[in-house]
Symmetry: C4
Subunit: 322 residues, 4 copies
């Protein structure tokens, strides 16, 4: 039926066609084959299976309060930038689609214009600030995010030596190491929840808690941080055990489907980020494409939650996976 919404895999296929049509050549996870951490993360995800429970099926609800915001799904958009390389409306379309799907948008590098554009859509926005060498620039970005109405702010600390483009480090002059004291002052300076992105060790997770972060994102930053960083799904269990009760633990890197989301949730994460997938969804249908992808993934998540006896996100635990 041509009227049926695209499925997840149809969305990705159509998005790739669009990407080729535009001539947009930068490939992100889940399709990137250049970063070993992403590939290893996929291998781990694909090795997890669900222990089904088909008797007495439950009614499923995927509502969640994340960073103080009520959402209809534990699927959010991980920080991205450079949207206008695709089209001048890409960011607005994605923001709008996410809003209609009851999701949340994280933004990466990019100016006040981009931020305002996202805010204007009405979607909850978290601004993830880069680890700039210039501390004043960080504070300026933070204040700007507060003023424009972001629901949260944060920093991707794994870019402190620049962003990896294949095996070249880019923007190494712009980004730099951040001392803990500086981060502690930064976090203390805002009333917004603060997100630390790029946590892959218990040590860093504990430090994030000590610095009063509200949330951490277990992430190897797609294909643009340390190659051979431990895959997020391999790092997750220990991090949950160490700080799961003290901080909100999110995850991203190479996730593709609603079942992938359930696997991370079963391992203890509270929500899962998608970036490249959102670009593909935009390619497949602009704003409606993004809304549909989040809905399709949430529907798959709900179906498998029902098939494993989980009425809501809190009911999910590792007994449902093998």
């Amino acid at each position: 039926m041509s009227e049926e919404p695209l499925t997840i895999s149809q969305t990705y296929a159509k998005g790739k066609e669009k990407r080729a049509e535009i001539g947009y050549t930068r490939v992100f996870p889940p399709d990137s084959a250049t970063n070993t951490s992403v590939l290893a993360n996929r291998t781990l995800l694909d090795s997890i299976f669900f222990r089904t429970k088909f008797f007495n099926p439950v009614e499923v609800n995927t509502d969640i309060t994340l960073l103080g915001v009520k959402l209809r799904t534990p699927i959010f958009c991980s920080p991205m930038s450079g949207f206008n390389r695709l089209s001048s409306t890409t960011l607005a379309d994605i923001a709008d689609g996410l809003k209609r799907a009851g999701s949340l948008l994280m933004l990466g590098i990019g100016g006040s214009d981009e931020l305002q554009c996202a805010i204007d859509s009405g979607v909850p926005v978290a601004k993830i600030i880069k680890p700039y060498r210039q501390t004043e620039l960080i504070y300026q970005k933070l204040r700007d995010a507060e003023e424009r109405g972001c629901v949260a702010v944060g920093m991707d600390i794994d870019h402190f030596y620049g962003a990896l483009r294949d095996d070249r480090a880019a923007m190494t002059d712009l980004f730099g190491p951040q001392r803990s004291e500086l981060l502690q002052q930064l976090i203390a300076s805002t009333k917004l929840p603060f997100v630390i992105k790029g946590v892959l060790s218990v040590q860093d997770a504990r430090e994030a808690v000590r610095l009063k972060a509200s949330a951490i994102i277990v992430s190897s930053h797609g294909s643009s941080a340390v190659d051979f960083a431990v895959p997020p799904m391999a790092a997750l269990a220990d991090i949950i055990k160490a700080v799961g009760n003290e901080v909100t633990v999110l995850i991203d890197t190479g996730f593709k489907t609603g079942n992938d989301v359930l696997k991370a949730l079963a391992m203890g994460a509270q929500a899962v980020g998608f970036a490249g997938s959102m670009l593909l969804a935009w390619g497949a249908g602009e704003s409606a494409g993004v809304e549909n992808l989040v809905n399709q993934m949430t529907a798959e998540l709900s179906r498998t939650m029902a098939a494993t006896g989980c009425p809501n996100l809190k009911a999910i635990d590792n007994t449902i996976i093998v």
Copy 2:
């Protein structure tokens, strides 16, 4: 020699040619590559080897009483439907071939006409009813099955949220969750053996026993239920341990050969279902093709039973595999 019967692999090859000729595009296991549970099940099957015993070979008998019916082989036809998409005589041919091979036919969705057509062939028929949202429809199908002479009835409980077509859920309005009380009443309402299909956890296996099911089928429903459901061969051992003495345990999903059957039997299953293979066998030789495939698989099963020192199905246990 052109007069020799087709082997198992020749049957599959010829069946695929026929399928292409007809333009029948829906591919089931064992060829489907879209469902991870099926693929993982194949990997498990292919990792099992036989501990041979060549001295003092035994005479082999593969007779079995299944669902109260005497059969000549532990190979049966798993529930299918939509036969007339291939040809108007496909169902009748398959039923006839199975009858001549001493096997049993399970039927899936489909009307009374199809059911009667199968019954008319003389093959023992088990009607596996879908989990309809309308309870009265379930009872109606059950009564119809009883009246037309089915040897057993059952339900595939894993379709309660619809049938998966790649990553799209289909028929979600038609099918729905079934409460245990309803199933208990349904099972109590018939004198026929009742089969619960789609059991993949000890919990569900125990519930099936509690509800007085006569048999369960450990199955991930080919490629049409939960993606990443635990592979049946991974679930089997625990289920056998938990309920093997209380209920007949069958299995299906991606089986291809007589040796595959022996592997499942060695793990504790009592019989093994094939669906897509039967369609291919029909394509390879209509009724005679189906009869021949069952015979060829049973012959391979017998050969390897002899080579592992098992004179009959009850003598098979997990000491013959490594």
Copy 3:
């Protein structure tokens, strides 16, 4: 240099060219991809590495007394038949090449003419008799082998239900099960060493010892016995442990190189058989090709024995492998 002898891999490459040229289509291990046991055996072989010892290198000697015959190498030719499908001189060439390399030839099915042809070359010949349904035929073959001067006789008990050709059982009328008492009488009736081929379990190994066999061959018969039979290298260790002190333990199935031989010897086997490799060597250079292949493999074996500190075959044990 065109005067240098072909290496092992060059021999196989040239042999395959010749095979294609002749139009000989039956492919044996090590190239067959149709038998899982052969493939699994290769995977096991390829997972074994050598712990090298380069200080104080030893002088290496590969002499061995096998079935009462002094040989210069633990590499022998496993039973084959149908040589004249390649050429009328293939058997004589192979026998001659083996003789010049100080090896031993086992013969499979085939008449007195073939046997006499092999004997005439002067190579030590062991006649491996098929498990014929007609017992008198077995005795007739045994007496013929004794009279013509074989150094040993034996039987491949794994063909008792016929020979597998892909997934078809062939010659099932000709071959049949052999009771232990019959084998015991047969073995007792000859003064020649008796070889039982096709042993893959401790149980069968113990029975062979009880029946007074002189040697067993741990073998899954290339691609022509039970598919998914346990790979010989997986079965070897337990068999050595159980009967290694009571019977000569040989092995074959998918071996390719001198390093493969050393791996089996390190696991406890006393010699290793090659069949398809000998046909390829014949294709690569007729009699001289066979002699050269055995020499090249023995040279590689010697090199790695030296590199692992083993002066002779008795010095080899499992401390040299990881």
Copy 4:
């Protein structure tokens, strides 16, 4: 940007183009697919991931004193020879590039001219002498190396039965076994640090210590020693445990990147050798290409050291890897 230096992978790609252009067909690791030990070593390297630490990043220094020489990187050039098969200036270019990168050059077989050419560049040179059958030739090479100003000498003991070219042993008349007493006298006869190359077992490592070697190289000699020799990364841990405090432990065989170097350092090695990579780097940019490759790999090493909290080489241990 065309002015940016080539990355590691760009260097390899361009180097391969150049190699094809020249018609140079001998392929070394990391591209060789003919030696199982090299492939297995890559598999081991690629299975190691880094436990990142992004808070409080450290300033990184990769200085090291190796064989008595201060270097700026733990990356050195493993022994090679036959440079003039590429061009008459290849050796001089590589030596010059290494010097400018603060690295060290090991030389293999080759005459005094080659040695002098390398020395003239100013790079520290270690002469690794072949295990010649003629002892006087070894001493002659050693004296020549001393006189021309090498910083170290050594021997690759794994070539005692010749060099493997695919599966052919070459130069078996030239090279031969070396008794320990001879090596002990040889080592005692020089004041230069002595390097034993080709150690893959604890036993050989201990013997090297007993003979007063200053350093050992854990190496399976690319694709030219024993096929199926234990992969260096598999042998490293036990060797470090046994002799890590008594001798400098180096490693090579199939390494490609700065991250590979860090993995070996985390396992206990003190420096890592590259050979084929240097030829590719030369192809990509002659002297500047070699300098750039070492710099790029050292930069990647530094980045990941920073990302794992290691300020210098001594701070690296196995807690940074999983």
